[in-house]
Subunit: 155 residues, 2 copies
DNA sequence: CTTCAATAGTTGAACTTTCTACTATGGTAG
DNA sequence: CTACCATAGTAGAAAGTTCAACTATTGAAG
């Protein structure tokens, strides 16, 4: 349905089109990256992201809540995800000395190995379906835009 | 880790930053829109999208497979989703006259009502967290970029 | 007309995520 | 010191998604 440009309640056709393209694109990209990653490794994209965060942290260790915050996952999602990954030997949990309530999650050697093994093909998949598909300018704007969105979701 | 600009395997720091911002932004946006929508209605974002597609189709009806394609969902996800929505009276299924294998899914009056009731607040949430947060140019580029990504995921 | 591959959709089990309630520790105000 | 509220994390059930196997129909080849 055609909307008037001045309507503040609805979206203009152009806004609508961008929003739809965004929804569809993220759905397809997510599905594609997951499929590629699961074909090439036995990690899901979510698990891969957990490994990345840990690998970039001092002592390859993070508190459960830091993991939750940086991945934008719920607390209980992190608990379950890490429990499954711990069962597979990718990470270990140990209670936190500084804060008796806290739990540290650390990468194991097997976790590092899994990440190193999966990374090259995953990066190439990200290139093939996102980075190399866009102009450098588009990619920059995309990043800037999503940064603003992240902030707006904080409020 | 700092990567060389000329490395074709890894991402440059700038590319990396955009990619991370994208991942985090989509995660937060999705979570926020879902939360808003579920507070204001009893629809999930996925269900809302189903209702939108149906509402825009001739006779407010689509084949299960068209629904799957346009939403980028798996067949079985559509089956389960529609079964649940049918139990709640939002849609009905009827077998397709033209193709004996096919199933048509149609919006009910209750489905239309649910969509109409949810739309204004949902649109305002999309505005608040995406549309109004970006410059018009950013939004356009975002849409164009994600359109390219959708295409690249087809291959 | 029959065979056969391809397409449409469903089903139930396995897995993942969310929701709700819970335990335990930490910090702070009286 | 002792309430008390906030924070950290977990546990199990409910809800949603994926996976693999299945039925049924269609369309095309012989």
């Amino acid at each position: 349905m055609m909307m008037e440009e001045t309507d503040v309640l609805w979206l203009t056709d152009e806004q609508q089109a961008s929003w739809r393209a965004f929804l569809e694109g993220t759905a397809r990209l997510n599905e594609t990256l997951n499929r590629d990653l699961e074909n090439d490794s036995d990690l899901s994209l979510n698990e891969y992201e957990v490994l990345v965060r840990l690998s970039e942290s001092p002592h390859r260790t993070l508190r459960m809540s830091q993991l939750a915050d940086s991945l934008a996952y719920s607390r209980s999602r992190v608990t379950h995800t890490i429990r499954r990954m711990e069962e597979r030997g990718l990470v270990v949990r140990e209670s936190c000395v500084a804060d008796g309530r806290g739990v540290n999650c650390a990468l194991t050697e097997a976790g590092v190995a899994a990440l190193v093994a999966a990374a090259p093909r995953h990066v190439s998949s990200v290139r093939r379906h996102l980075v190399d598909v866009l102009t450098p300018e588009q990619l920059v704007v995309l990043g800037q835009a999503m940064e603003r969105v992240s902030l707006a979701c904080r409020t």
